[in-house]
Subunit: 403 residues, 2 copies
């Protein structure tokens, strides 16, 4: 018996808790038990079937194998690069004009590209304290630090003061600071920043950029499912000469093709030479981790974004999914308010976190009643993406009774 793993690699945790809980729920279901499973991270219809956008498969069926069998360029298929910029900025032509992009394996890859290119080892990523786990994993694996601030004020508004302090402190200590904002439909809290909160983020980072090089990565994983509010784009327009704005674009949820690993990083810079450097940096780091990305996935996503017929079809299909999800959100809000549950403003998206003491114990008590969800920091994460509307009032009732 021997191990050549580095000491850190030799001590990695086992199966992640989300996966383990999902497995347990699934196993009960296949044993014929009735279970409400709110652990999952994909959209399921009310019969427990994975929701898929059919337009994806229709494009797939038209592809000649030789069109996508070869390597995609390291930075991504050029049309794909344009398409994701189009998809992100739509009417904001000025932003499109100063954007470059590079393909990545899902949004995860875009976060990785940001961290390795905009922070040196030892420098710091700043995130709210309720965050998507891989922010920490990516930082840690790559020798970068993660600093957090309390996500919400006592009124459950976004904690701009906390962000301000974290950014200022880190700006004093380091040459570079990278801040991540996952909005709309934050995972795990469900929160979408308001217009004035986006203004606040912009001001804080612009101010800090006088002290150190501040970059902002906006994680758009769930952006098709958020409130129709494009104020954040106006903030991006306003700050992009001082703050390096980065977008983690993901096709996983937008096209319900989580497994296709289609994503990209977008970076804005008014200077053409700087844009070229950005492109080269992304290309180099791609080559130095995963090389090129899923060619077929890029091809299909491009069609769905740029071909009028498919675009319309995707809109129709996606709107039906959004409506289904929105129904669940509405039912949840109704029920949760009945019991005075404490949770942040929840306007849409896959998840919401209900705050509670001893989340592990609460989740355990709920499991004993066959309701499965994910204990997180300060609360339990309810994945409405996988719960039928008809089951939500029971879920909330059980949750309330287990607090």
């Amino acid at each position: 018996m021997f191990s050549n793993l580095t000491p850190e690699s030799n001590q990695r945790p086992g199966n992640d808790p989300i996966f383990a809980l999902s497995e347990e729920a699934r196993s009960k279901i296949s044993n014929g038990e009735r279970v409400i499973d709110a652990t999952l991270g994909c959209l399921f219809d009310d019969n427990g079937e994975l929701l898929v956008v059919d337009a994806w498969d229709e494009v797939a069926a038209e592809i000649q194998p030789s069109m996508v069998a070869g390597y995609a360029p390291i930075s991504g298929v050029q049309k794909f690069n344009h398409a994701i910029i189009e998809d992100t900025f739509s009417d904001f032509q000025q932003l499109k004009d100063i954007s470059v992009s590079s393909a990545t394996p899902g949004g995860t890859g875009a976060v990785t590209s940001s961290i390795v290119n905009f922070l040196e080892p030892g420098e710091t990523l700043i995130s709210p304290h309720l965050y998507w786990g891989p922010y920490n994993t990516i930082s840690s694996l790559n020798g970068r630090k993660l600093t957090t601030y309390k996500t919400f004020t006592s009124d459950l508004d976004f904690n701009l003061e906390g962000l301000d302090q974290a950014v200022n402190q880190t700006s004093k200590e380091n040459k570079r600071v990278l801040t991540v904002i996952n909005s709309p439909c934050n995972n795990p809290t469900g929160y979408s920043l308001s217009s004035s909160e986006w203004d606040g983020v912009g001001e804080i980072l612009t101010k800090a950029s006088r002290v150190s090089r501040n970059s902002l990565i906006i994680d758009l994983a769930y952006f098709k499912f958020g409130p129709k509010n494009n104020h954040w784009l106006k903030v991006v327009e306003r700050i992009c000469d001082d703050v390096q704005v980065l977008i983690a674009w993901s096709g996983s949820k937008s096209f319900t093709r989580y497994g296709a690993r289609v994503g990209g990083i977008i970076a804005l810079n008014r200077d053409a030479d700087s844009r070229e450097r950005l492109k080269r940096a992304f290309s180099y780091s791609s080559r130095g981790t995963w090389s090129n990305c899923n060619h077929m996935g890029q091809f299909i996503a491009t069609k769905l974004i740029t071909d009028d017929r498919y675009k319309e079809q995707v809109d129709t299909e996606r709107n039906a999914i959004i409506n289904l999800l929105q129904d669940r959100v509405d039912v949840f809000n109704d029920q949760a308010q009945k019991y005075n549950l404490i949770y942040p403003r929840y306007e849409g998206g896959f998840f919401v976190t209900v705050f509670c003491k001893e989340p592990q114990a609460v989740a355990k008590r709920m499991r004993d009643k066959n309701v499965y969800l994910i204990p997180v920091k300060d609360g339990v994460r309810v994945g409405l993406c996988s719960v039928a509307s008809r089951d939500i009032s029971e879920l909330v009732e059980v949750l309330n009774s287990c607090l």
Copy 2:
């Protein structure tokens, strides 16, 4: 104009030379010029069409979207994990019994997983001096070093003495050493290690493992195209209690689906607890870079490896491709020997490197005669994977005349 890229990221090189030369060749071809293009890294038939294994698409056509639309597990689909172990070790049951694997985006991802898990920052990857560029990119991006030794002896045998010195020196300096061997059909040299050379590699690493923790990554990118010699597996059996053996498995060439990013890392360890730690380490580093991998690609590759009907079909299709390539190799060897070109033993595979002085100048002179290939260290790389047999004698003639 501003840049928040780290100083290193701000100075990355532009488009890689291979891509630029391929583009130039393609542009001439589309202008109606006759060009022999030996720059490419994929298999093309004699009419310049990308060769594809149809079985892949036949499986694809049978897939229900909901089977692969969701995320694959971070470590990969379990059946895929088994399948790539089966594909690699076939009759070597003992090796299969002590293997774990994890999905990665192509062979590149497997090399990345090896480097970040078996070397600490500052430690060293050892490679022959003629190597596939990303070994350096991955090491450098992740803060690891790359040390090289001269690939061949003056007789153009594999330079075991060079390997021995590099491994010994590094073993004295560091706790951990990672050695990469890309054989059979090395990119760029075309070389496949002989049985006795594999014995030598095994002895060197076993001996060095008394001094430091030695790991070996065998890059199998082209292993379906090499000589039918499984002696390396016997060496793996012999050394795997002292040396951490890792396999970079890739489906890119085996199934001619370069763009699908289907790969995996396999690690051998006789101890079940150690295997569990290996699995966790790979899972953690995947989550910390690209998360999960192409679900559909894993599904299809699994079918092609494990389903008897498809397995047979793949064998038939692949053998036809191998025969086509072998014809080219034979013609090349005939012609090159006529001119006494100097190049290592070339028994099969996509590439061969012909040694020469001033490779850049040689390649330039050849381009002026519309023959395109890739200048590398000490020679020019000829990609027979993309050159029709009928064009090879002309290619060799031009090469010889440009030396």
